[in-house]
């Protein structure tokens, strides 16, 4: 038991060190892609929990990414609060807003929830664009940066550990929730809310907790993003990004953490790889692939992987 926990702790530590260290050998463009990819993976894990595991079609995930980013920057650089206060305050704002949205919205079914959260996401953009000096309006906020930590400037590769920490914390937290009775409750609510209710699950409360958790985690990822490029503006958090995120989950394998990670890594890096060939039309390929995946491989990459692994095991079993 003890060695098991130590082993898993060592595993997390190794992952943290490995994911951070590898960034120090990268040139600045691959480094930027890598760091942004880690953030996208973080968002995907949270969104998969919200949509894949708990069945909530919420289009507000990217908006909360933005709310986290804007909250921490406004609190620390427009209102001059110390960074620690700004970080805590931003988390609180995300959680509060998520609760305000979740309490009425989770009563809605299926695509109605999608639409309510879509409207909320649009309202966020409208509010930020109309925010004048406070939010920087359409031009956004730039020219700020993190204060040095123990004398070390957290920029470039040195910023990667922060992102990796957010990624691993998000993954760890979600895995914790998922592997407990709560995770089973989420799946029950997703598959059959009436049955879940009958079994004693507080459906409304479950939905709200999931929404607040996932959205707040997206907000924390947003805070990490804010100090990556030291520039935030409304177009970064626009609606088409949520379709991308959704596609990542579907192609990776809806409901699977590994699927979210695989889907995010694949779709994020492939667009830069195929750019010389298909150029600007990678969304076209993604859209087509999503349709094909839904039609022919509905369990996504993880489903294909599982099927392949099962065949390998079966063939091994048959060997004398």
């Amino acid at each position: 038991m003890m060695s098991g926990r130590l082993r898993s702790l060592a595993g997390w530590a190794a992952a943290f060190l490995g994911l951070s260290a590898v960034s120090f050998v990268m040139a600045s463009y691959p480094l930027e892609l890598y760091q942004k990819m880690l953030l996208v993976v973080t968002l995907a894990i949270g969104f998969n929990f919200l949509f894949g595991i708990s069945g909530q079609i919420a289009f507000s995930h990217i908006a909360f990414y933005g709310i986290g980013a804007y909250a921490v920057v406004i609190l620390s650089h427009r209102l001059g609060l110390p960074l620690a206060v700004a970080l805590a305050g931003a988390v609180a704002i995300c959680a509060l807003l998520a609760a305000v949205v979740a309490i009425p919205a989770t009563r809605l079914e299926g695509f109605y929830l999608a639409l309510a959260t879509l409207a909320f996401a649009q309202l966020f953009i409208v509010a930020v664009s109309a925010g004048g000096k406070l939010t920087g309006g359409d031009e956004g906020i730039s020219g700020y940066q993190l204060p040095p930590l123990f004398g070390a400037k957290l920029a470039g590769a040195a910023y990667t550990p922060v992102i990796v920490f957010v990624l691993l914390a998000t993954l760890g937290l979600i895995l914790r929730f998922d592997r407990s009775w709560f995770g089973r409750a989420c799946r029950a609510v997703r598959d059959n809310p009436l049955a879940a209710q009958a079994m004693g699950v507080d459906v409304a409360r479950t939905k709200i907790v999931v929404f607040v958790l996932a959205s707040t985690l997206a907000g924390v990822a947003g805070m990490a993003y804010a100090f990556l490029n030291n520039f935030i503006s409304p177009p970064i958090f626009e609606l088409d990004r949520i379709f991308e995120l959704l596609f990542m989950i579907v192609i990776g394998g809806t409901g699977r953490h590994a699927g979210a990670v695989a889907g995010a890594i694949l779709l994020y890096s492939v667009q830069f790889a195929v750019e010389p060939i298909v150029g600007k039309f990678h969304p076209l390929i993604y859209g087509l692939v999503v349709v094909l995946v839904i039609l022919f491989a509905p369990k996504g990459l993880m489903g294909l992987w599982d099927a392949a692994a099962a065949r390998v095991r079966a063939s091994r079993g048959r060997a004398p």
């Binding site: 109605y112 409207a119 109309a130 609606l239 596609f247 076209l284 993604y286 999503v290």
Partner: protein, 299 residues
């Protein structure tokens, strides 16, 4: 009150577009339960088809008169609807996939549609000539452009046809039967495949009407799809998904609220953008089934 007359005409014309989009959703939603968010892109493709038919895109030699261009647009968008149904929706429905699957697949279709539209149409706004030109036309206390009156007239025509279809034709009854109980309808001998195909094709054609009217008003634009999809759904939520008249009512209410807010609400213009969104959220929270209830029972 001449001002109100002007405002009402343009608000009603806008509301008609929203109502048509809502109808397009409804035509698919009722028999299949599927929300087709790609409808906005279908309207955009229809708009570019309208521009092409009048010779301003791809085929300069083609300069069809309005009625012929309209027919072309309807055929194009109807085919798009039918193709999408056969290729992406039917396989999923027939294998019993959960409702979410076709909805997600249609989001993929949305992205594909948007990209194809951008490739074909380019990033500039392209006009197609309005059939009755442009000028100020006064009808009693009302004043509008010929295109806005035309839009209202066409919309009324489409809605009357839709109402007759649902209330008076055998196909309409089949749609309703499938909407009420799919399995029972199949057991009674209704061909589910045909209903699905017709629903998607009809929805496509209604999007084509929107595209045609919009292209004649302010041009075809590669980014016009998403706003139309959202406006259509807002109208649907306001009016209620149960009845054809609900779609039009929802559209008109949205158009009027938008216009009155923009004209009379004393808030800065940057916040007026939020009014339709707030309206949608309000309805979703307070009355998600919309204003008009579905007719209960029926023979």
């Amino acid at each position: 009150m001449a001002e109100l007359g002007e405002l009402l005409v343009s608000a009603v014309a806008a509301g008609c577009i929203y109502g048509l989009m809502a109808l397009a959703y409804l035509l698919i939603l009722r028999p299949t339960g599927i929300i087709n968010f790609a409808l906005g892109e279908w309207a955009m493709l229809g708009a570019f088809a309208a521009v092409a038919a009048s010779g301003d895109l791809l085929l300069p030699a083609l300069q069809l008169p309005h009625a012929a261009a309209f027919a072309v647009v309807l055929v194009v968008t109807g085919l798009i609807g039918a193709l999408v149904e056969v290729a992406t929706v039917r396989p999923l429905v027939e294998r019993g996939a959960p409702l979410l699957s076709p909805i997600l697949a249609l989001l993929g279709v949305l992205v594909v549609g948007l990209q194809v539209g951008t490739l074909v149409g380019g990033t500039e706004a392209l006009p197609s000539p309005p059939p009755f030109g442009f000028r100020r036309v006064e009808l009693g206390p009302f004043a509008g452009t010929p295109q806005s009156y035309y839009t209202i007239a066409v919309t009324l025509g489409v809605f009357i046809a839709a109402w007759v279809f649902f209330e008076r034709t055998i196909w309409g009854k089949r749609f309703e039967a499938v909407a009420i109980n799919r399995r029972a309808a199949a057991l009674m001998g209704i061909n589910l495949r045909q209903v699905g195909l017709l629903a998607f094709a009809a929805s496509g054609m209604v999007c084509g009407v929107v595209g045609m009217l919009a292209a004649g008003a302010s041009g075809a634009f590669y980014q016009m799809g998403l706003p139309l999809a959202i406006q259509g759904f807002t109208a649907l939520v306001i009016g209620g998904v149960g009845r054809v008249e609900g779609a039009l009512l929802g559209g008109l209410i949205l158009g009027l609220v938008e216009a009155l807010a923009a004209r009379y609400l004393p808030i800065p213009p940057t916040l007026v953008l939020g009014v339709p969104l707030v309206l949608l959220i309000l309805f979703l929270l307070v009355r998600p089934t919309g204003l008009l209830k579905a007719r209960e029972g029926g023979a």
